[in-house]
Symmetry: C2
Subunit: 384 residues, 2 copies
Amino acid sequence: MAEIGIVHTQYFSLAEQGVESIVLESGVRFGPITVAFETYGKLNEDASNAILICHALSGDAHAAGYHERIGHKEGWWHAAIGPGKAFDTDKYFVVCSNVLGGCQGTTGPSSLDPATGKPYGVRFPVITIGDMVEVQFHLMRYLGISRWLAVAGGSMGGMQALEWALRYPKYVHASIVIASTGRLSPQSIAFNAVGRNAIISDPDWNGGDYYGKRVPEKGLSIARMIGHITYLSEHSMERKFGRKLQHKSEFSFDFSTEFAVESYLHHQGQKFVERFDANTYLYVTKAMDYFDVAQKYGKGNLKHAMARIQSRMLLLSFSSDWLFPPQQSQDLVDALAANRKDVTYFNIESSYGHDAFLLEVEKEEAIIQRFLDASGRLWKGGSR
Amino acid sequence: MAEIGIVHTQYFSLAEQGVESIVLESGVRFGPITVAFETYGKLNEDASNAILICHALSGDAHAAGYHERIGHKEGWWHAAIGPGKAFDTDKYFVVCSNVLGGCQGTTGPSSLDPATGKPYGVRFPVITIGDMVEVQFHLMRYLGISRWLAVAGGSMGGMQALEWALRYPKYVHASIVIASTGRLSPQSIAFNAVGRNAIISDPDWNGGDYYGKRVPEKGLSIARMIGHITYLSEHSMERKFGRKLQHKSEFSFDFSTEFAVESYLHHQGQKFVERFDANTYLYVTKAMDYFDVAQKYGKGNLKHAMARIQSRMLLLSFSSDWLFPPQQSQDLVDALAANRKDVTYFNIESSYGHDAFLLEVEKEEAIIQRFLDASGRLWKGGSR
């Protein structure tokens, strides 16, 4: 079958299911909530082939296919989702939704607060990875799915996959946690904090009320540039840019954007501000900072936390990922193994750094296919 | 003998030596130049015991002793300079000067441009590590020294030590290059570029003309925070902060400074803006970005570049330094060894990251003492 073609984002309101609001982990009751999502492939009769894909910090519901026309706005994981691909849409019904707090259709700080008729801004409540999963739970129900064959994601998407396995163990048959972690390290918190600081320090941020005015482009751009440095490995930067100058062969002796690596980061920053909301950046990075499964589910003990898990687990890390280094996956694997859980782990050799989860699709493909095949067989075999 | 007590910064004007201006590597002729420096210990009769200490990005001429009163404003390398210390002031005459482009007494962007009577701001010329060394050369002459027993420094100070050995091979008997590199990697350039971007994006930067007005505190603070992340290792952050919260035991669910690591970075940022000039940050990081000894002295070939060196070389790196990783020192050592140069190298086991060069003084001390002792003997032996 051909690749996935043109797709449309769909919308679902929790209120349609009678859920006017949900209680967030902070204790705050919040609603209404609308969810933007896309689906690829077909749900089978017994709804046993549904896979939820969770997106990373800057992702959205548009994981595969094209919006508007072929070649235009390809989904962020198009290489991994489609007929014959890692997530084979000839076999599986694949779902991806924009996270709570996002800015691509799901309710977030840029949404209108019905109480005021104005965007929430920082009146939007602080959320957690658990809250994102809670909203996805309602989407699952809405789609007529009583249990995911698999929940999968990379980076922050992997956090959601892990949270699903812990929060709703009976609703997940298999989990795929890629380039992720059970807790943000202080170094990652530090990078996030500096990024938020850059946004909040931008006068155009204006206490979060910038909608319809000048947006805090400079601050958000700096945050994105910091992020991008952490997504690449030193080796991949060396190979991609080295010390090459962007335009000239000689130093310009001024403060223009001079080295190719500077130019790349500028460009990434500029592209990002056109499509992403600065407040969402604040909320989503904060949710990541709070993520700590040992603390939340094991009173600080990772092994105790992992005891809750009932799904088959596949963990993938990448050798040159220094944002969420392989050791953080290994720690999860060790804790799962200590609980005699069904866990498979590959540390994939790659020089791409954290970005490898999006780039090394070929290396991921066979591993994921085999894991999903086995998961499907075990589901049918009624192993649980 | 007791430790170094109260010291005073001295000033020297190149014009006093008849040098009204110097030609910078950019080709620009620039002057007048004043240099702030301090000295510790006594120059011996044949001026054979003089050691130049070069400071890092945020350092200054105040390397040892105290300003005003004991306990007040200790020099940045006080632990390494003094009687019986790594740089033993009972034996050696130790000199440290603020770099060209600096903001602690040596001519820099905050200095008054005699042509306008106003601070230079970005009308100050873009400088290089070589230009910093050129100014130090005139200081050497002024002090009646015809050759340094040693030139030593860590981080950007190590770049200056290396540049000295390459630019003025006959004027340096021994070189000590600590936690440094022969070229800035694209990753380091990227971090510097984002820091500069944060400063330039701060409206208070005002095109560099902020003297006497609001200074770009927010931008400079962000730049410093980014820097600080790169100075620590993941391990040292984990040990120092972990995921500890600063004030509470529970999440605050707001955007206040919450984690201990955030609070530390904020504090470092705040302290820095009180003592450092944002324009100097721009100029000095740019000088670092330009640093590439293979390019400058070997047409891109590091071995060819190192052939120029005549001084004895000591290189030290630290195992957990990811800003200037050990491999970058190893590359220099290999190129020196390939030229059969007198080179000694230690990769010191440390968990402190790049900051180790300031913190692991005990581990550095014996190595440096032994190297300087031998260097002194070889000088007297008239080996060259």
